[in-house]
Amino acid sequence: MSIDASPANSPSNEFSGPMVRFDKVRKSYGSLVVLDNLDLEIARGEKVAIIGPSGSGKTTVLRMLMTLERIDRGVIFVDGEPLTSMNRNDELVPADAKHLRRMRGKIGMVFQHFNLFPHMSALKNCMEAPRTVLGLSKIEAEARGRELLSMVGLGDKLDHYPSQLSGGQQQRVAIARALAMRPKVMLFDEVTSALDPELVGEVLSVIRKLGADLDLTMLMVTHQMGFAKEFADRVCFFYGGRICEQGPPEKIFVAPENERTRQFLRACLEAT
């Protein structure tokens, strides 16, 4: 992991520094500080699990990265470029729509509540953005959609509408839909939290497969400690808007140093 490259001066296609870098990022809602001077670096291809109690700012990290939340202070760099601002005459100015859309194109997100388009079939859900955003022809977009849906095990459900699919199936469509945009970074926001317990496995095994087959940087907020332990390269424990402890899963789950981490993991263990 190289971290010393100066992101501002490197063209994105050659940039070899971290895929994502949070630089003193702060977010508050009124007087409630959600993220407090967050510094976080994620290397290319790294799989990071974010855990922590609710209200600790985990989801906000992903939502800011997806430009769904404004950044109050600090800068997020993606692929070496500032996400919501841009360089003009050596000064950072708020990004214009063009820059934002180019940056967003590097990122895909899967939501807790799937957020599929209910009026489109599984295949159409996967074709919509590739057609309208990437300008793919109908044939190309359909081929891509079919391929991805069969990759997530839904090759026989192409024409089903979201309402005709189980939660686990809907979430797998959502994963295929995000992948159809060929992002470099995939964000998973509690993607199994809304699922019935028996459906969690099928979604996790799809994510496992992505991790193995694709060269993706993955960032996931999860309550599935077992999965985080087995899948992630690194685990970040969030508490009160900052990273309280981070490290490889063996360390965090086996020998956490911080008392809060220990408390949290104990509480999680009791719940299962």
Binding site: N115, P118, H119, E128, T132
Partner: protein
């Protein structure tokens, strides 16, 4: 003099049928204007920049709070004072469309506000442009639930077309008035006009219900 003259009735029926076409034309064009302009109003008011949204809200409130007849008169008689002369039918249709656009915009507003936030967020995450988000994601979901309400306004607009007789558009009411004054018989023409309106209203209501059912079948909601 008989109360009801069947011979006279059949004599004037073709005239009224012809006028009914004008009424239908005014209704349909007026409603198309209302439906499109209404959507634009709603989007501008909900998502437009402040300099657009605020005056738009004021304008909508103004149109909604003043009588349609005055608006018709204004467009037809006052606009020419500013050098804008509009032919009666066009002025009438414009006034109808504008007036009902403000009502429709409130209906659209409700429909748009009902789209879950997750749909917007998914669209942003997929990097879609605002145009495509509205065209492909938001509007197709916002419209089906409000079809009944829009349909009601279609019928209401239709029933307001007699106001165009005030600027001498030869629609049903104006034609009936002319027939009445020429023959000194008002019973048949006015009654027939009422009947024609009744029949069309019933047909329109049935069509709206059909469209509603069709949309519900076509667009499956989760």
């Amino acid at each position: 003099m008989k109360f009801w003259d069947w011979k006279f009735t059949f004599e004037i029926l073709p005239l009224l049928a012809k006028a009914a076409l004008v009424t239908l034309e005014a209704t349909l064009i007026g409603f198309v204007v209302a439906a499109i302009l209404g959507l634009a109003f709603a989007i501008g008011r909900m998502f437009g920049p402040k300099w657009l949204a605020v005056p738009l809200a004021g304008f909508i409130e103004f149109i909604r709070s003043t009588p349609l007849l005055i608006q018709i008169f204004f467009i037809y008689f006052v606009f020419p004072e500013f050098g804008v002369s509009i032919e009666a039918m066009t002025a009438g249709v414009l006034a109808l469309g504008l007036h009902y656009a403000t009502y429709c915009s409130e209906v659209y507003r409700a429909g748009l506000a009902n789209i879950p936030r997750g749909q917007w967020e998914a669209s942003i995450a997929l990097n879609m442009s605002p145009f495509h988000v509205f065209r492909d994601v938001i509007i197709p979901q916002a419209i089906p639930p409000i079809v009944p309400a829009l349909g009601n306004y279609l019928v209401a607009l239709f029933k307001d077309t007699p106001l165009l007789s005030a600027i001498a558009v030869l629609e049903l009411m104006q034609t009936a008035k002319i027939i009445g004054s020429e023959n000194f018989r008002y019973t048949e023409p006015i009654t027939l006009v009422g009947l024609i309106f009744l029949i069309f209203s019933l047909i329109a209501a049935a069509v709206v219900r059909l469209v509603e059912a069709w949309l519900r079948r076509r667009i499956i909601h989760s």
